[in-house]
């Protein structure tokens, strides 16, 4: 079987969906998994999402690659530079709640004490982009943060697709399908190079999405 890479869309604090999708991907024996970022915010289990990815060796080698989303960068800026309010404006309260059940008046200090150093290290190690033959993966459609590339196919997340299915063209795929964001949002896995789509719903149940070539 030829090597396959599975690209996963924005997770947004839904560990149930991520866990189920990873199980499905494990069954397919993919050689690599790449997540497009936005692991935190909006959904209720951001801390658990980070824990799961760290547990599976995220960014330790090229088998599980995690790209930085703008929500993840905002979380790190909150912890590093104290930018709590901008983070809360992005739906960060859900992330804070996933670490802290009973907030104290100085929430920022409490959050800094509570977030494990492994989670902070994870956020620091997130990559700006990933590329392999013919493929470039970034968080958003904007390719400026990616290194020089000559890929013919661009995969990204960031903007939730209202139809809940990825928008796939000849040269790109938008794979944020509203997990944690839209009512009935789904988490998408896009298999490269076949461009087959695997999806689970917010509870981690398969959605029966048809294959796309």
């Amino acid at each position: 079987m030829s090597a396959q890479t599975v690209l996963i869309g924005d997770v947004h604090g839904n560990v149930e969906a991520l866990s189920a999708l990873l199980c499905k991907i494990d069954e397919s024996h993919a050689s690599r998994i790449v997540l497009v970022g936005d692991y935190v915010n909006r959904g209720p289990s951001s801390a658990q999402v980070l824990h799961l990815l760290i547990d599976r060796g995220a960014n330790q080698d090229d088998r599980l690659v995690c790209i930085a989303g703008n929500h993840d960068i905002a979380f790190l800026r909150c912890l590093d530079h104290g930018e709590l309010i901008p983070f809360l404006r992005m739906g960060g309260a859900a992330t804070v709640r996933s670490y802290i059940s009973d907030p104290e008046s100085d929430v920022l200090s409490q959050l800094r004490r509570t977030v494990p150093s492994s989670h902070v290290d994870f956020l620091r190690r997130l990559r700006a982009s990933y590329s392999e033959d013919g493929l470039i993966v970034t968080h958003s459609r904007d390719l400026r943060r990616a290194r020089c590339h000559s890929a013919s196919f661009h995969v990204f997340g960031h903007t939730a697709q209202p139809a809940l299915t990825p928008e796939i063209t000849e040269s790109s795929a938008a794979i944020d399908t509203g997990c944690g964001t839209l009512p009935n949002g789904r988490l998408t896995g896009l298999v490269w190079p076949s461009r087959r789509v695997v999806q689970v719903d917010a509870r981690g149940r398969p959605t029966g999405t048809a294959a796309t070539d």
Binding site: N41, R42, P44, N70, L84, I85, P86, L88, R89, M90, G91, A93, A94, V96, R97, I100, D102, P103, E104, S105, D106, V107, L108
Partner: protein, 154 residues
């Protein structure tokens, strides 16, 4: 969209509920003065409009309200134009809160001790309260180019 007739008593209850955000320790008030003044003005304006509805035909401008209640300062205090209201100060905040509590009653107790703690604590159960609190802690509602917070209309 079909608009329901306004229910002034319900509006006043809602304003009272959200006024908990204004109940902050002095240091927190000082740190978040622009946002708290903005929120206090918004809540007082809503409360005064609701009060006007309760006692007669509704008013449609702060000038009308000032005239109806025989209180010329209301026109300035409740204006939305910062050129008219002037920069936020502790005195303005205290005046707004004093007037608000006269209408809706004392501010509900805030057991969390800060705006951000209140926002985080209420995020799951009372999203509008949390949203208003986060807005009150923001320097300027228009300066951030990325916000997940919904508009709040009382």
């Amino acid at each position: 969209m079909r608009l329901e007739p306004a229910r002034p008593d319900q509006l006043l209850e809602t304003v009272h509920h959200y006024s908990v955000i204004l109940n902050q320790p002095p240091s927190e008030r000082l740190c978040n003065l622009p946002g708290l003044v903005r929120l206090a003005r918004y809540l007082l304006r809503t409360a005064v409009y609701a009060q006007a509805m309760r006692i007669g035909p509704p008013c449609f401008s702060v000038r009308e309200l000032a005239s109806k209640f025989g209180d010329p300062d209301l026109a300035t205090l409740l204006a939305s134009d910062p050129i008219v209201t002037g920069p936020p100060t502790i005195d303005i905040l205290e005046d707004l809160v004093k007037r608000l509590t006269t209408i809706v009653g004392p501010l509900p107790p805030n057991t969390y001790g800060s705006i951000s703690a209140l926002a985080v604590a209420t995020w799951d159960e009372d999203r509008i309260l949390a949203t208003l609190a986060i807005r009150a802690a923001s320097d300027d509602e228009n300066t951030l180019d990325y916000s997940d917070l919904p508009k709040v209309l009382l």
